[in-house]
Assembly symmetry: C2
Homo-oligomer: 578 residues x 2
């Protein structure tokens, strides 16, 4: 027996296997996952395993390594999140998200830090040796909402899209702030004296870390898109590039102390539309499938490790400090959301309701990022207290808040995600309004959201697509794509039923067999009758139009062969309006 | 800049990226890969990179780590090979393959070892300090044909299926022999005296290592199939199990000093048919795609590393030893093939022609396995000589033999792989003959190949399928599956053309558009006219038969509801014949 030789890959494989089997186990009993979120169950499995290891070895089980977490477990989840990010609601609410992520996180860090310092001044609690700086450092790691925990819970409760993107977007983008504040306070802790220039340099770093991450991500994303232009003869390694470039963007950002999370998200969002157009259908299925699979495994491992790491003797228990940490985390977040939303609502027509505000505040779950950061702290005499407090906050938010948020959403009747995809009529109207608003903004000289979106779209179709796409074609409108998807689905059904081309298919038979087919998402969101209807209309009108002329697009009007002329015209109009 | 922190994943990602980009680069110029095999190009890239590293650092570039090779790079390639192994030709020729793999390898080991020892006795060569045992050890590592190198070359030259499986099967299965002989001689080298019992124990080990590998592989394979029964609710982690269990089988076999290659091949071949039936179509695409991708990357990395490792100061040059090694490798292999084929041909009707024999002998390429084994040798004063000789043999076989084998195949007019898939008529006849021969063997009491195949099929449909398949259904005959595939393809074409369900499709349009569609393999092997014809016939006759009664299967005759009765009947017949 030569265990030493295969130990590393063997144990990694076994851990992944355990995680996958645990996942299967939960889903065998359908009732369990509908009551308790999977993250709680996984932490519970971890706790049991940690207990077993502790009992057998009589020493603390190994703690989740921060390097493993940040280098191997976190990137797949963030990549998945970025790649499947609904870009429309994200960019529509980017202002609000940034406000929550930047101002909100700073608010929480200082709020929690200073109020915990206040608690430390009470003599009865015996905490007077914890300095203000240490409290602020602790605040900086405990304040950040965790994307992994948020995703795990919010994916199951199906709140409306705007609410989801507000909480989830915040949890992703606050990484830049957390990185800066955490590193700032950590270096302050090690400095003998702090000059005011250091503080100003820290503030400047926000922009460097965040925007640098975006820059690194986008450059890798576009390189990835450009690379997939040349993979026509070796389809089989296409999916690899999506993963390699995203991972490189993350690692590069981390190497330069930029925000890796922001980088990988920018990379994924930047490359998605070009890569999808360049690679084959099968490659695309593989990319999507593997991304989901990988993030699902990472996610599972993180929660199990979190449970395992909780057991042991790494903790120093101090009731007041721990209880007040939990309380302050709740209070400051609630206050922050209230104040920030007040300002947001003043400048927006589509306001955030008080119910939504409650869910935003309540959905501020903490997770494995805090946990990894607290273990990365330099050794000092109160580190174990911080570890204990962090563990309690994580378990409290994941278990108590995570398990009660679904009933609360039901109770408050928070607006849910709409069950069906937007109809074709709606899609056309949204598109029409976008163009209309862009035009109005253009004429009125107000360079708002729609104006920039339109400019970006123009830049994209004029330059980026030509460089990054292999077969630069008329961009297909989403309606045509929907139609093609429906047609493909219909064809597969006919094939399955063995009715293809041998006389017309009896409609009753078809609709009864509709459940067979693979495309799960469409299945979930549209019912058969609606589908049939859409398909009918599209088949009659749209497809033939597209085959005779190009699809409707603002920049390629049928009669308008020179897009530059149109651009000139716009320029003249704007100059006049100014 | 914090490079230390991300070094390991960063460098791994960069190496993979380099390998993928090199692959893209070769395929940009279509002429290059058709003349020079990819493996040669990759070694060349490696040589250049090694030269650059050597020039810059002024010390030998890092050598490919044997652990990395055996634990991470080899398994994906072997898994891919096992999973896509054509099982029919493999099992039809299993006797010949085993003869080549076991007897042939032993023949080569001792032939090369003893004749090199003879060379060492020549005083002028100054090699008298190399003992017989060391020569045999060297013979054991240089004798084995390398599956990675063989696959890389034979995939491009498209020889007939039997020839391919003979060379490739040998290269896979000789692993058990190589492992045993290599470890045996290595331990002999370290022993002060060798007893005769040790030699006998060594012979016994062959069976343990080989059959143990098969056993480990099959048990993991069946566990994998059983696990995928329960993944219906979490489709997304299905592909994972295929990879995890295969890898575990490899690691477990390696841990117990069994043959990992044999284990992973048994695992892949054992699980394939059950897993495919259990998992969803998209999961299956992902599995296939990812396996191909992974093995392709591993393959690329191995050849690049091989090139890089060649550069440096690890070599001791001795002209006679190195030249005679190359010559003996060629001679003993040629002799071995001639002698073994002589025996094989006496017992088979379907003989191996002399052209085929030449290609089998000439296709005995050496590769990275030899290279890793020679670096794993314990340190002794002539190790560098062995490394040099191994490197030369590998480069000679991969470059000279690899580049000339394609012209030779053309020149000799070796029978090629048939261009088209077997027609439906052929398939039906093959099937019919199988059953007929099984029946004849049964009645005549000669328990040959067909008899056992039939028994295995019976055992499979009676027990294994019930345990391992989620939805145990009538087994679909391959003809029905072909029909379904054609129908699916046809449907996709109709959808693409926008002709579905809106009036009958004009046939001219269809056939002109046929090239659009995705299923590459069918596309390559069948021409449109044949396809149309098959589909027409099947649509008229076969599908409806299947829908009214079960598909034809020897064990489930339409009128025969009790398979046990049939078994009894057979038993009586056989007893009578005996």
């Amino acid at each position: 027996l030569d265990y030493q030789h295969v130990q590393v890959p063997f144990e990694i494989t076994l851990w992944i296997m355990l995680a996958s089997l645990a996942k299967i186990g939960f889903h065998l009993y359908n009732k369990l996952p509908s009551v308790v979120p999977e993250s709680c169950l996984l932490i519970f499995v971890g706790l049991i395993m940690g207990g077993i290891i502790y009992g057998l070895n009589d020493r603390s089980p190994p703690v989740m390594d921060s390097d493993i977490f940040f280098l191997y477990l976190l990137p797949p989840i963030v990549l998945d999140a970025g790649y499947f990010m609904p870009s429309r609601p994200f960019f529509e609410n980017i202002g609000t998200i940034l406000l929550y992520a930047v101002v909100g996180t700073i608010w929480n860090v200082f709020g929690i830090g200073f109020s915990l310092y206040g608690i430390c001044q009470v003599k009865a609690f015996r905490l007077q040796d914890v300095s203000l700086l240490h409290n602020l450092l602790f605040g900086s790691l405990i304040a950040a909402v965790d994307p992994v925990a948020v995703l795990a819970v919010f994916e199951e409760i199906h709140v409306n899209e705007k609410l989801h993107i507000l909480v989830f977007g915040e949890s992703l983008l606050n990484d830049a702030v957390t990185v800066v504040l955490y590193k700032l306070f950590r270096s302050f802790c090690e400095m003998p004296t702090i000059k005011s220039t250091d503080v100003f340099a820290g503030v400047g770093k926000f922009f460097v870390v965040g925007l640098g991450g975006v820059l690194v991500g986008l450059s890798f994303g576009f390189t990835a898109a450009f690379t997939t232009r040349f993979t026509k003869d070796i389809r089989v390694i296409e999916p690899l590039f999506v993963f390699l470039y995203s991972y490189l963007s993350y690692l590069t950002a981390e190497m330069f102390h930029l925000s890796g999370i922001v980088a990988i998200i920018s990379c994924a969002m930047g490359m998605k539309r070009y890569v999808e157009a360049n690679i084959s259908l099968k490659s695309h299925t593989t990319v999507k499938y593997f991304m989901k699979m990988w993030s699902s495994v990472s996610d599972t491992l993180i929660f199990i490790f979190l449970g395992v790491s909780t057991i042991g003797e790494n903790h120093e228990w101090n009731w007041p400090y721990i209880c007040f940490t939990v309380i302050f985390c709740l209070i400051w977040r609630a206050l922050g959301v209230l104040v920030l939303t007040f300002f947001v609502n003043r400048f927006h027509v589509n306001t955030i309701t008080s119910k939504d505000q409650f869910i935003i505040a309540y959905g501020g779950l903490r997770g494995a990022i805090c946990f990894s950061l607290v273990f990365l702290l330099p050794d000092f005499h109160r580190k174990k207290l911080f570890i204990a407090a962090t563990t309690v906050v994580i378990l409290f938010t994941v278990f108590i808040q995570g398990m009660t948020i679904r009933p609360l959403v039901d109770l408050l009747a928070v607006k849910r995600k709409r069950e069906s995809a937007p109809t074709v009529g709606e899609q056309i109207h949204i598109r029409f309004l976008d163009h209309l608003l862009a035009g109005i903004e253009d004429i009125s000289g107000h360079w708002g959201q729609y104006y920039w979106k339109d400019k970006l779209e123009y830049f994209n179709s004029k330059y980026l697509q030509k460089i990054l796409l292999r077969e630069y074609d008329q961009p297909k409108s989403s309606i045509v794509l929907l139609y093609e998807k429906l047609e493909r689905k219909h064809a597969m059904e006919l094939a399955q039923a063995g009715q293809l081309g041998h006389g017309p298919a009896p409609p009753s038979f078809l609709s009864s067999d509709r459940t067979v087919i693979t495309d799960q998402k469409l299945e979930d969101t549209l019912n058969p009758a609606v589908l049939d209807n859409i398909q009918e209309i599209l088949a009659r009108n749209l497809y033939r139009i597209r085959r005779t002329g190009p699809a409707y697009n603002r920049h390629t009007l049928p009669g308008d062969s020179e897009p530059t002329e149109q651009a000139k015209e716009l320029l003249i109009l704007r100059h006049k309006s100014l």
